[in-house]
Subunit: 459 residues, 2 copies
């Protein structure tokens, strides 16, 4: 499937914060239109037609053939872009001539791969259009400026309850426009279109109307515009400084993962997400961040070994916070890779080991107690078991190991990495090396034994 | 799909080694017919009709409803079993009346799940039969006693080269019997049958001929018997003491896995396979064996810690050999489980850690050298990385990590478990604790770094 991305408009309301062309406005390290490219790629769409208008040469020079982001970009020029965005859609007509249907997106709308997948799965009616509709208008920040949609959704549902099974029960678009007084949804700027939309836009143009909404309205009057419910997928029209702040928040809120442990969720992420937001504008890669965090962890291990427990504990906790940043930058800038995932996991395990070895040596040197050697060895043995069990579970079943589902009460043991690092931090600043090693040995081995016992019923 | 298993015959030639009914002859810990049950289950077939004859009550009492082995067994009595095995097949007729096609197997033939899958995938012609044929007669041990098959295979191939694409190009059975002078294959005792086989057997019975071969011969004369090439799948007709030895060898040869490291392949398996063969008759479970091996490993760790390096090294290597036995027994007795796989992996990692901790402590106590603590810690950090990388690779890609494919020259580092244990053995008997720890630290960390670098191109 091919996608048409409109990048012709002027974006006057963003000029106060960005002097360049609007599609190139950098949002957390990536130009808006590049976010659209990467979102399309993750949704499985790599063939993209970009419609240029205002400062089109600058946009084209910055994007090239799109191969840097794993997509194939071709360009269409819209000489009439100032008339309205319908004219820009028509400029793409030669590029979609052979397609049964295609997607239409706005370069300045932030959307998610999930939203794109939903609209792509929503086949438009013969010669018509499917409009991606957000049926929760309350969550749209700048509702006054949004394009509203009135559908027959309630009626359609009632009909479906008693109606024929084979009938198209998707709601039809009844009215569309910025100034609707009655509406039940908002147009999110993603369309699944056919050549019928082009025909409608041409007919409107002959009557002097040049917006995309005009074309959709015409199809709606013919009963050929359906609404595609985007559910809870998130989106944002990035057209003024307030919307930029909203879009940033939306991107950053998606960074924590459901696999986060307790300390990570309630402490580390609160710190790492702002750090990632600040770092996003720089060209640093996730793997470079993984390695830098590893060096910091090694430094903490050295401080422990030298007997500087307080400094070691603080540096270890800083490294633990930064440990989230590589993954956050990878997700934020579409830089995730399997190699990066493996690299980070192995560096984490070596870092864990160095910290425990450092604390063991430092404690033994300070106290002369052979208990330090025993607890240190047990902690070194137990500490990697957490990841091992999760990885082997995932390898055997193909499913992610979910601490919230599989772990039961052991998830409060703080035996995942975020928890173990926090224990090292507390133990360091309280200068309780021996107790820290004992706790880490006990919790990690207990977690492994309990997990084994619990997994018997899941495997 | 349903399977009919003939268990009616007398098995006179096995009486010298087994006084009970032949289907219950125990081969490496499992009665012959139970091996057939488990093989069918692994091939996805759980509905089994067992035809009883000679000493049928004893067979039924031993097998029950089959639920112990995860199958559903129903029974058919063959009053005429002494006339021939065709009469026994007819006894199962009411049980397969509703089936489009079904499998027919012999309780005394050892086959593999792969062989069953191949014959099951080979649809018989309308009203006919597909005969599982081994086209390598040279590998059949007791060829004189085997049921030979003559097919039109060469002709069929020539026809296929220039012939019509839609034609059934499987070879047809031309002749079948023990005394064929010309033949190109051997009947392996697995058939994919339709009700046409029952009709043919009834017609033969009226003429006084009562063997299964008589029925197949009749269908062959009508052009309704095709040969299903079993390829290199292995099988064995277990009908006399020589065949029993052959069958044992065949089962034991399948125990090593392609994931075995160098030491495992060339040393450990040579010892563990005979041990598994001897242990198979006992009711010990793979998980019990995993735990026993773990205790032995812990003993070796204690010996190292106490400074008894030679004893520690020897016990460690014995444990390493026994470490193969749990998996071998699991494969040999159809007892594999995901939980068992995880349990063994985690115990192995804890065992590894205890051995290294023990050797570190023993070496430090004996020499007072802090290098022992350093190398010991690095070896403890490096040792689990081997499994971690393999598991994470498998978790991310869904494919097994193959040292022969992915490792390149690092597979000669002996940094997999079998290699690391062998290094501990050598280091123990040579009483070189410090050097051993240094070698293990170096090889395991080097393997991890090289693997990471190499995996960049596989991920």
């Amino acid at each position: 499937m091919r996608a048409v991305v409109l990048a012709a408009g002027e974006g006057r309301r963003l000029r106060s914060v960005h002097p360049g062309p609007k599609p190139l406005f950098p949002l957390l390290g990536l130009p808006l239109i590049v976010r659209t490219f990467c979102t399309l790629r993750e949704a499985g769409i790599a063939d993209i037609v970009v419609v240029l208008g205002h400062r089109g040469d600058e946009v084209r020079a910055a994007l090239g053939d799109g191969s840097r982001w794993g997509v194939r970009v071709t360009y269409a020029e819209s000489p009439d872009w100032e008339k309205g965005n319908g004219a820009s859609v028509l400029a793409a007509a030669p590029h979609v001539a052979g397609e049964r249907s295609w997607l239409l997106l706005m370069a300045d709308h932030l959307v998610t791969p999930e939203l794109v997948r939903r609209v792509a799965a929503c086949t438009p009616p013969e010669g018509g259009v499917a409009v991606g509709v957000d049926f929760t208008p309350a969550r749209v920040p700048d509702l006054d400026e949004a394009t509203k949609v009135q559908t027959d959704r309630v009626t359609a549902r009632d009909a479906a309850d008693g109606g024929a099974a084979n009938q198209d029960t998707r709601p039809s678009v009844v009215a569309i426009g910025k100034d609707l007084s009655a509406f039940d949804g908002v147009d999110c700027g993603v369309f699944h279109a056919t050549s019928g939309l082009l025909d409608a836009l041409r007919a409107c143009a002959e009557e002097g109307r040049h917006t995309l909404s005009d074309g959709v309205r015409r199809l709606a009057a013919q009963g050929r515009a359906v609404a595609c419910d985007i559910g809870d997928a998130r989106w944002c029209d990035v057209d003024d400084p307030a919307a930029v702040r909203h879009a940033r928040r939306m991107l950053l809120e998606q960074l924590p993962t459901p696999r986060d442990g307790l300390i990570s969720r309630h402490l580390n992420r609160k710190l790492s997400v702002p750090i990632s937001a600040a770092l996003a504008r720089f060209a640093v890669t996730p793997n470079q961040l993984s390695f830098a965090t590893f060096l910091l962890t090694a430094l903490a291990a050295g401080l422990f070994a030298a007997g500087a427990f307080v400094a070691g504990g603080v540096v270890a906790q800083v490294a633990s916070v930064l440990d989230g940043v590589d993954g956050e930058i990878a997700r934020l800038k579409f830089l995730r890779s399997r190699f990066g995932e493996l690299f980070d996991a192995i560096l984490d395990r070596i870092g864990d080991g160095l910290l425990l070895a450092g604390l063991t040596y430092g404690t033994y040197a300070a106290t002369g107690s052979e208990w330090a050697l025993l607890f240190g060895a047990l902690a070194l043995i137990g500490s990697p078991l957490s990841m091992m069990i999760k990885d082997r579970y995932r390898a055997m079943t193909g499913d992610l190991y979910r601490p919230d589902v599989h772990d039961g009460w052991v998830r409060y043991l703080l035996a995942n990495r975020d928890g173990r690092m926090f224990v090292l931090f507390l133990g360091g600043i309280l200068e309780q090396g021996l107790a820290t090693l004992a706790v880490l040995a006990f919790t990690s081995l207990t977690q492994a034994v309990v997990r084994l016992a619990r997994l018997k019923k899941f495997l």
